[in-house]
């Protein structure tokens, strides 16, 4: 490092004689320190990636990944999933009339029922999802269109929602602020799905669908809060606000039977507000808890899905479906992870073998000193 940082300003040309003496004296002071840091002599580990170094790692990775991949694949295969599309576009499908005639501001609900059969019984907790296709919840204008401060219960934002919510910010007729504002809230999914099991003897029993525990705990208890005031009544709290344009009921009537699930903290609403990443998505709708006895949660047999068809999707060629799925520790049915681990593990192992051959063959050759001088 001695060469680059010499400062030539002090010494001038003509005084070469005196400056040489003075120069050497001054140069001694200007020399950079002879420390390991400044002279780039820091102690260092200098690994070299040879076949010998990398071989053990490859074998280890291969031997670890393949069992992991098999485990993941087997776990995923044990997950049972059932999907049924109820959009009703085809002429013969049960919900065809509902999809054709129904618009979002119809007053009488349209109900359609679909029959399906479960080949295998579903054990343990069964999760019921609704799925939408061709619905771009990840569009930028859509994702922006929300006011988290209002949803957090801030009273100022309740009356003055964020500008991002335009054009769903204030009601056109009454000029009141909309609570909850924004396009995401406005497009809340409002189909009602019910499940009935047809017993072997012919009777139909309703299956109990739990609506708690479908939203993230932090969402329900921290991020989304109802506005707080002395008044207990939610209707009073939301006085002065209007309901979103496409809703039938205002936000304080989302679940009047349960105050813990009403208003902004309604779990269906919270689940909908978490915008999905891709145009084909599913959201958790209900949970069917496992029965305390040893009977399976959903025995195999015939079922009826009753749909209160409120949500129109034909205008954007979307599709709606209902999914029933069991869950493992790794989530839903996804064989990709298992397959990926098995593939990478096998390739690693195979390449480890190849490298072993190369290492033996070229071991001596790589150490020869035939470098030009």
């Amino acid at each position: 490092m001695m060469a680059s940082s010499y400062n030539a300003k002090e010494e001038d040309g003509p005084h070469s004689g005196s400056s040489t003496n003075g120069g050497t004296g001054a140069a001694k002071n200007k020399k950079p320190d002879n420390t390991a840091f400044k002279q780039q002599r820091l102690p260092a580990w200098q690994p070299i990636l040879t076949a010998g170094t990398v071989l053990p790692a490859f074998f280890v990775i291969g031997l670890i990944f393949i069992p992991i991949g098999i485990g993941l694949y087997v776990t995923s295969n044990n997950i049972k999933e059932f999907e049924i599309d109820y959009t009703g576009l085809e002429l013969g499908s049960p919900c065809h009339d509902c999809s054709k005639n129904f618009t979002w501001n119809s007053t009488t609900p349209c109900v359609c029922a679909l029959n399906f059969t479960l080949e295998q019984p579903f054990e343990s907790n069964v999760y019921m999802y609704y799925g939408l296709s061709n619905f771009y919840q990840n569009h930028r204008r859509y994702v922006k269109s929300r006011d988290d401060r209002q949803l957090n219960g801030d009273p100022t934002s309740l009356m003055k929602p964020s500008k991002e919510c335009e054009p769903y910010r204030t009601s056109a007729e009454t000029k009141e602020p909309i609570a909850p504002c924004g396009a995401i809230a406005n497009s809340l999914f409002n189909d009602t799905l019910e499940l009935y099991y047809i017993e072997p003897n012919g009777t139909t029993t309703a299956i109990h669908l739990a609506k708690k525990g479908i939203a993230w705990w932090t969402d329900k208890h921290v991020k989304f809060r109802n506005p707080v005031d002395d008044k207990e009544n939610l209707t009073e709290l939301f006085k002065g606000t209007a309901k979103p344009v496409n809703w039938r009921k205002p936000v304080y009537e989302l679940d009047p039977s349960d105050p813990e699930n009403n208003g902004f903290i309604n779990e269906d609403f919270i689940v909908w507000m978490r915008t999905a990443a891709l145009p084909t998505f599913r959201k958790l709708y209900r949970i069917i808890h496992k029965k305390p006895s040893t009977t399976s949660t959903l025995p195999s047999g015939r079922y009826i899905l009753k749909v209160t068809y409120n949500y129109p999707v034909h205008s954007f060629s979307g599709r709606k479906r209902m999914i029933l799925s069991t869950i493992s520790w790794m989530g839903g049915k996804n064989p990709f992870l298992g397959i990926a681990y098995i593939t990478v593990g096998s390739i690693c192992f195979f390449l480890g073998v190849v490298l072993l051959i190369i290492h033996h063959k070229y071991d001596t050759r790589s150490n020869s000193a035939d470098i030009p001088n």
Partner: protein, 385 residues
């Protein structure tokens, strides 16, 4: 004359060295001008790009410093393009799935901090300290200079390698996450679903880790600072994300990232996905490096393994004793300890005589042996002080 050389067909890079006022025009004309501070005054020095005190320093300037700086700067430039290709391409790929509405994949804070906080320090430390080969070997083997001549590290071929690597990594990040998460399955054990920010955070996490580990693969001279910034950058990313998503930020109208990172990390599938995506990205690169080193090694690589016999095993503390006076404080303390324990003499020569050497050149300079360990399966003769 220099101008004539510069216009010759090969368009060489010219270097001129001189010490007097009559050399000034030559120094200015050449691409690299070196002035020597000498009896003829400071004129040459003031007009030069580099100034040295003795003519003999030119050898070290070219062969050692020039070599190091070129490798560092070339890798710096290539790495910067690579990590930004990795950064932006997933965002571009996401547009195909969000109707080209310019919805960002990552949160805006991550967009800002990626280049400043998460990936800047490792490459900075790399470009300050990287040494492919020991300086003494470089000086004694001028032929190694040919490995980097003709701007080889910034050639089109190398550029293509780094850029294509960036694109392929970005594709693996995005589509790996997409296939895992995107086809509408849940990754959580309680059946709940992720959103778009969680998806973006997954892609971002694998990206930051892979890009840092890629540089770790490129680094061949690991000082304590390299360790600190490399692992520290990854740790900082995790700590920052936990902090950023851990509170409801006041005065902000969007709390998109609240608890997203913790939810992502609480999913076992996400961890498995992170590991497999990182290994899928880096593993072909490792294979390529190993194959190239064995099948067509460059002279520099050959000389790296040549110096292995002189190296001492990592566990041998005596390597610290072999430092000359003026080395780092730690080594002096260790040497003192060794002396007190009567295990080692603070003498340089002992460390050399017993090491096996098959060098074909004569080297009279005393080696400043660093704490080198070459991890090969070929036997290393550890020397005893």
């Amino acid at each position: 004359v220099v101008r004539l050389l510069k216009t010759s067909p090969e368009k060489p890079i010219t270097l001129a060295i001189g010490d007097g006022a009559n050399d000034v025009s030559m120094i200015q004309e050449a691409h690299v001008g070196i002035g020597i501070m000498g009896k003829e005054g400071r004129q040459a020095v003031r007009n030069s790009d580099y100034a040295i005190a003795r003519f003999k320093f030119l050898a070290k300037l070219l062969l050692v410093h020039g070599h190091f700086y070129y490798i560092r700067v070339a890798t710096l430039v290539q790495y910067f393009f690579y990590k930004n290709v990795c950064f932006i391409t997933p965002q571009f790929l996401y547009q195909f799935f969000c109707l080209f509405s310019q919805q960002t994949l990552y949160d805006s804070v991550y967009l800002t901090l990626y280049n400043i906080c998460f990936t800047s320090l490792p490459i900075l430390v790399y470009s300050l300290f990287e040494q492919l080969v020991h300086p003494d070997i470089l000086q004694s083997k001028p032929g190694l200079y040919r490995d980097i001549s003709k701007n080889s590290l910034l050639s089109f071929r190398t550029f293509l390698y780094w850029t294509l690597l960036g694109f392929s990594h970005a594709f693996v990040f995005f589509f790996g996450s997409y296939i895992l998460m995107g086809e509408d399955t849940t990754l959580m054990g309680n059946g709940q679903m992720f959103g778009n920010w969680t998806f973006g955070t997954l892609v971002f996490t694998v990206m930051v880790i892979t890009v840092t580990l890629k540089l770790a693969l490129e680094t061949q001279f690991w000082t304590w600072m390299n360790h600190f910034v490399t692992w520290g950058s990854i740790a900082f990313y995790f700590i920052f994300s936990l902090f950023y998503g851990g509170i409801i930020w006041p005065f902000l109208h969007t709390q998109d990232m609240y608890f997203v990172f913790v939810q992502l990390l609480s999913s076992g599938s996400a961890w498995f996905a992170i590991i497999i995506i990182i290994i899928t990205c880096l593993f072909p690169d490792v294979v390529k490096k190993v194959f190239y080193r064995h099948l067509c090694p460059t002279s520099t690589q050959k000389s790296q393994s040549l110096s292995a016999p002189q190296a001492q095993a990592l566990s041998c503390v005596e390597s610290l004793c072999c430092y000359q006076h003026g080395q780092s404080g730690c080594s002096r303390l260790a040497c003192l300890l060794e002396q007190m324990m009567g295990q080692c003499k603070a003498s340089v020569n002992n460390c050399h005589t017993s090491s096996r050497s098959n060098r074909s050149w004569s080297d009279t300079e005393i080696l400043y042996s660093n704490d080198r360990s070459i991890l090969t399966l070929s036997p290393i003769e550890a020397s005893r002080c």
